[in-house]
């Protein structure tokens, strides 16, 4: 033992043989990969590729089967209109799921915000633009509540949002007294509430402002998630919150901001909902949470957090829209749509697990 400390500055006895060993340390492996591994690596670095391929393939498939009736500017833009709200709510869901959370309350927040926008205008006579701002404030408040419970109270997001979903939905019914605000009244007194339902034409293509807003929102969020520090922190938190905290990310602050932004986006969805259905109805959008989770999962975003691209979510929403319209035009029982989408969800999660093995 005394020998060991005497020549302590030299390699240990048992390590002397190392001089003869391979000296390349920690170099990046360059061994040639099999084609399957190459695909795996490509998909690993391009998480939106799978849903994009599926989307293009399904459009091509329905285009071949149905022909011009499906493969037209009108039908394509109709799909966009039909998935606009799912896309918006899916964007909110994406942010939360990237942090390894889940938000079951998105649909409820959307409906409550739309009801607030409508009722504040018609019940209290507020200027519609001010009522819309109040709707956004309510959305942000609901998101903030979720965020505080998840970050500071350390409660599981699933449970928190399962609770707030019921709370917000019940508040919505109690506050609105289950009243619907009729389309004609909105038309006459507060047309701005329906702004996102208005459309413009480019040839046969019909775009609503809602569609434009949805595409813009996804583009802006894509930029934020990939090119700002906040976006990187969202991914880091979803990956490993402890590591993120130790690396200097203010985890709780980022988490709360994610839920608040999610609430704000849901309020935007609520405003678009008025344009989409024409009236303010407290019973609308009941399936928005499930539809948004479906879009996110088919879009290749990992439910375990930290992986995936918001573009994938948009492709996922469009895949669902393509299947719905395509199968309707073929004239099958709509249950086939759900059957196929259910299958797609399971395949998407299986592919996600396979891609993750690249790390192993």
């Amino acid at each position: 033992m005394t020998d060991a400390s005497a020549d302590a500055r030299r390699p240990q006895e048992f390590e002397k043989v190392l001089s003869a060993s391979d000296t390349s340390v920690a170099s990046f492996d360059t061994h040639t990969r099999s084609p399957i591994e190459k695909i795996q690596h490509f998909l690993h670095s391009n998480p939106a590729a799978v849903p994009l391929i599926v989307l293009v393939a399904s459009i091509a498939l329905f285009g071949v089967i149905i022909g011009g009736k499906f493969f037209s500017a009108f039908s394509m833009t109709l799909i966009l209109q039909q998935v606009a709200i799912t896309g918006i709510i899916g964007a909110a869901q994406t942010l939360v799921i990237l942090t390894a959370g889940i938000d079951l309350s998105v649909g409820a927040i959307m409906v409550l915000s739309s009801v607030v926008m409508g009722q504040f205008t018609f019940r209290y006579g507020l200027p519609p633009s001010l009522a819309i701002l109040c709707g956004f404030a309510v959305g942000a408040l609901c998101g903030w509540l979720n965020g505080v419970l998840v970050s500071y109270m350390k409660l599981p997001p699933f449970i928190v949002t399962l609770g707030t979903w019921q709370i917000v939905l019940a508040t919505n019914f109690l506050y609105s007294a289950n009243e619907t605000i009729r389309s004609q009244d909105i038309e006459a007194q507060a047309p701005i509430l329906k702004f996102f339902g208005e459309n413009f034409r480019l040839g046969n293509a019909v775009f609503t402002y809602g569609v434009v807003a949805m595409v813009l929102l996804v583009a802006v969020l894509w930029y934020i998630l990939n090119h700002t520090a906040w976006g990187r922190h969202v991914y880091a938190i979803g990956d490993d919150p402890e590591a993120a905290q130790l690396s200097g990310v203010r985890v709780n602050r980022v988490l709360i901001s994610v839920y608040v932004i999610s609430g704000l986006i849901c309020a935007l969805g609520g405003w678009m909902l008025i344009g989409r259905i024409g009236s303010v109805s407290p019973t609308a959008g009941q399936f928005a949470n499930i539809e948004s989770i479906t879009a996110v999962v088919i879009g290749g975003i990992s439910l375990f957090g930290g992986r995936g691209s918001i573009l994938g979510m948009l492709f996922g929403a469009l895949i669902v829209g393509v299947f719905q319209l395509g199968l309707r035009l073929i004239g099958t029982d709509p249950q086939w749509t759900y059957l196929l989408i259910g299958t797609l969800i399971i395949i998407a999660v299986a592919i996600d697990q396979w891609i993750r093995k690249v790390a192993g």
Binding site: A4, E15, A26, F28, S45, T228, A236, S247, V249
Partner: protein, 261 residues
Amino acid sequence: MAIEPLLTARGLVKRYGRVTALDQADFDLYPGEILAVIGDNGAGKSSLIKAISGAITPDEGEIRLEGKVVNFKAPMEARDAGIETVYQNLALSPALSIADNMFLGREIRKPGIMGNWFRMLDRGAMEKRAREKLTELGLMTIQNISQAVETLSGGQRQGVAVARAAAFGSKVVIMDEPTAALGVKESRRVLELILDVKRRGLPIVLISHNMPHVFEVADRIHIHRLGRRLTVIDPKEYTMSDAVAFMTGAKVPPEAALAAA
């Protein structure tokens, strides 16, 4: 000793419920030295290191950096003060790239409107500095600095974490079990890296269970036992079995050693 310690801690106490992890613990780190911290499992080494690196806030006691009292409430504050830590779990985000990981929490933004208004990250600058740092430490031949950390081997990940600490640590670098998860060759490389960082004049706090590694690189060895500093020994004057005996309580260190501390 004429030289003033760079980093000191006096009377640190940290309780978790009924467990006392730190019980009046002291700590001294002198400029330019490698101080090893050893102790049995549950002796409170990790709590001591976390207190110094800002990951936990001690209930009592004070920490001084260059003579000034510091009160870290988050790892970020310790980092801003120049104390960098390589955690045992490395604290890397697997899905993010090497460059993104090195700059996590202190990203560089683009100059001008893009950076100030659109908060755009300057990927080019970050990747350039990350590459410089990794090459400077002779760590690895970088092929793709934008590759995800999860595609790297254990040793490569350790390299990224050490490079991050060496790149930003201006006063102290703390390493928690840097060789625990590595193979023989990779361990040797990391030990050289530690000596390399020391040659740059940065003092290092090394927490390790590996006695040969500790005795090889450390200038002084801080032995932690039952939540406090038992003694500090010079590795040239004691053997590994002495150290283990102190650590486990089989032997009581001579008073002289306590006084020297």
